[in-house]
Every structure is written in C-alpha cells, then in structure tokens.
Symmetry: C2
Subunit: 278 residues, 2 copies
Amino acid sequence: MTAPANFAIHQGTLERQWAFAECIDGLARHGVRALTVRRGDVEEYGADAAARLISDAGLQVLGVSRCASLTESEPARISANHDENLRALEVTAKLGASHLAMICGGLPEGSRDLPGARARARDALERLVPEARSMGVRMGLEPIHPMRVATGCIWSTLAMADAICADLGEGVGIIVDAYHVWWDPRLDETLAAAAGRIYSFQVSDWLHTTGSVTGDDRGMPGDGVIDLRRMYDGVRAAGYDGFVELELFSADNWWTRDPDEVLETAFARHRDIFGDPR
Amino acid sequence: MTAPANFAIHQGTLERQWAFAECIDGLARHGVRALTVRRGDVEEYGADAAARLISDAGLQVLGVSRCASLTESEPARISANHDENLRALEVTAKLGASHLAMICGGLPEGSRDLPGARARARDALERLVPEARSMGVRMGLEPIHPMRVATGCIWSTLAMADAICADLGEGVGIIVDAYHVWWDPRLDETLAAAAGRIYSFQVSDWLHTTGSVTGDDRGMPGDGVIDLRRMYDGVRAAGYDGFVELELFSADNWWTRDPDEVLETAFARHRDIFGDPR
C-alpha cells in the first residue's frame, strides 16, 4: 500500500528507527511526498546536501522544526537566539520548505513572568519578519498544549498565536497540531478567523491513557478521543488544502515498532479518517 | 505558628496522612478556620455528624468536592447522576458550605464528541439550578487544566465556565484554581468579567518538573512557576475577599510528609505570598 496523496509525516515520528538519510529513503520507498524535518539533523547532514537528497527522492519539505527560543530575557541570549533563527531561516530557504516552525519556548529558568515572556516572544518574532520576507521564507507559529507552557511554549492557544499573525501580516501564519489544540473551546471560531493563515495541519491522537506532559505518548489517529475528521473539515473550511501531517511521538509504542508497520498503519488510518484525493 | 486568618485548605492536601475526623481535629489544633471536604468522606461519616464535628471544632466548610459527572450520554446514567447531585446539594446544605464544587466530567467512554459533552454538561447543570436555589446552595464551576479534558472535566477555561454562570444567573459561580488556569492567555480579562461570581481561590504551584497529567504532582506555593500573588490581586480586584485555599495533591512529596510539617510550611509560604490580615 502506497501513501495517500495528501499524507505527510514529521520526521520525529520515526526518529528512533531511522536516521536522517534512511528516513528520506524509507519515505520515498513508501510513496510519501512531503515531510517536516528536524533542523538539527539537516544541519548535521549539511543543508545543501540534505536539500539535494530530499529533492532527488521526490519529496518536498513542509516544515523545518524548529526555531530557537524567543522568550529569553538576557540580552546576550536574545541576541544569540536571533542569530540562530536567522540561520534557521536560511536552512528553511535552502530546503524550499513551506515554513520554519516557531515553537517559541517556555519560561526562562527561575522566571514566573508569563506576560513578560509573551511580550518578548512577540518582539523577537517581529524582528525576524523583515529578514524572513527578504529570504522568501514563512514562519508558522505553533501553539503547544498548556501542559507545556512552563518548559515548552508560552503560546497555548490558536487564538493567541493567530492574533500575533494577524498583527504581523504577510508570511506569518499558524500550525494547527490537533494534539495540542483539540481541547480548546474556541477552536472552531479561531480556525474560521485564521482563514488563509493556516500553514500546516498536524495529527496524532490523545489517548485516554495519556499520562505524561512530555508529549511523547501520543496515539495513532483513530486510537484516541480527538474528532480529527471534524477538525480537518474546520481547517479546510478555513481555506487549507494542503497535506495532513502525521506527528506521532510515542516513546513506549510506535517508536518501538517496525517503521514499515508504522507507515502501513498510518496510511490505512489516514484513508479512513481523511480520505485520499489520489 | 498558627494559621493565617485567610488560610484555608482542601482536605485532599493531607488525604494520605489524616482520615476525616483526624483531619478536622488536626486543622483545628493548628488554628485553621476553613476547609473544603471530600463528599465521599462526609457521606461515610454521616453528613449530620460531620456538620457537628466541623462546627464544634470551630471550622467552616468552603467547598464540597465534588458533583457526579454532568457529561453522561445515556439516559439512565444522566438520571442517576442527577439524583446523586441532588443528594450532593443536600449534603452541601447540611454542612452550611459555601458551594458544591462542580467538576463536570470528561468524555464518556468511547466518545469523541466534545461539543456534545459540553452541551450535556450545561443542560445537566441547568436542571440543578432551581433545586440548588430552593436549598440555598451555590454551585461553583471549576475549570480543570486542558490536560484533563478526556478523563476529568470538559470545562477547560475560566471564560468557558464563566459564560455558563453569567447565563444561568444567581447561585452559579466559578472556582479559580491557580494550578488549572495559570497558563490561560485570557486569565486577566476573564477574572475581571467574573466579578462577583468568584466563589473560591485555590492555590498550589506548577513545578518545572511536573511530569504527570493526573494533577497529583503539584508543588507547594512558591516552589514553582505560577505568579500566585499576581493572580490573587486579580481575584481580589474582581471582588473576591475570601480565603486562599491550599489544594496540594502531591503523591511523591507532600503526601509522604508529616502533616504538621506540611501545615507549618504552608502557613509560612502563605504569609510570604498572600499576607495575613489577622
């Protein structure tokens, strides 16, 4: 069984099984057309070589994951992270990717100042906008589940991230990750308001047994409680017609399985839930 | 050191150390004036006897925790839970408590219909309103952290709960639990909008090391990342002038310690962060 035409995958889904080049080869073998890559792996492989490898395999890059933290409070760190983010934008441009994934970071060590962290993240993002535009690269803001706000990302809702996008304008949009936002009472209205600014739709499932705040015990679509089809209809109604990207971090289950089995299962679930426009 | 005058405690904070009557005695010995009780413990002890015990000890009851699920979809279960909630309201009345804590339940087994669960919870609550009013009992809606939406409570934000309160009117208000709502980008505006409808302010801390979605590895106020003083100022600006209630569920730490040590530590932290109006 080959991949559905609108199936994409986050490289982290098979991070324990496949190294970078092996992953590109394996995905191509299964007919996958698009993926999100880990920036660290690309930089280690070399961005130019990675771009060739991916292109030669017939794949395209959706997201580059991820930016350096935008919430730092010390000037030296703010400056260092800005420079790192400029390099991340360059990598994103070299790969011809849809966007750089902006997961902005949590509270700096020892801080309780959430409003301050939010303000700094916005400022740091704003400073990147002209640079990103001049490189022709988009930035996708990804709200992360509120259970990760201390150590992961202080953007906790789509509404919060989309308000920043609406303010900063062209080339700044949102990434809708079902696992992170499915609980949100304002989800429907936010998706509608974000029309034209949705860069990506990522899926996995929230299991009844989910016990950890790390985000590493997600479920295969269909195994949990998220109405993924309903959310897919919502992003499509808001004008998104791109890939449905599997981002399945699963330390105790899917990361331990044969990658071919993971992909075959994922393809079947994808066809059941989202269909295949092929 | 005796308890600050505005210090209250949730019985669950010492649930591994003290049985019900022992807890009342211990709290009185430390000069604590108010507590939230577990309904199961009260029913087991006998509601009338519990009311006398608490009153004789010079304590008052804030909340009664908690209602039966409001999200059930099967008629027989909806009916059984309604009846259980009428009995819970009666217990609340007997104890002369401030309110019954409404933690409305998660998704019923096998369901992915979050909008449906929300609608049913609202309907079930609405049916209780005239009964609660006739008993002179208030109902406090408690939004629970979004990481608990599948199995705990589908009210995930204060704004969502407060909208229901504003709609249903007198005798229906919100419980602000810092641990559950501190991450919310709309917190400040929601507290302001809820003026006059805040029934309780509960505190504990979110630790950088919080790893579980169960809610049972909370931190002592001051040990984590929540700006509790800022939130306290917010609830007071919204007209709340009641107790600050410690609700500290901590399986690996505070539940394993000597209860006198837990209380002494809590009193000191309380005075540091919230002051003592005595």
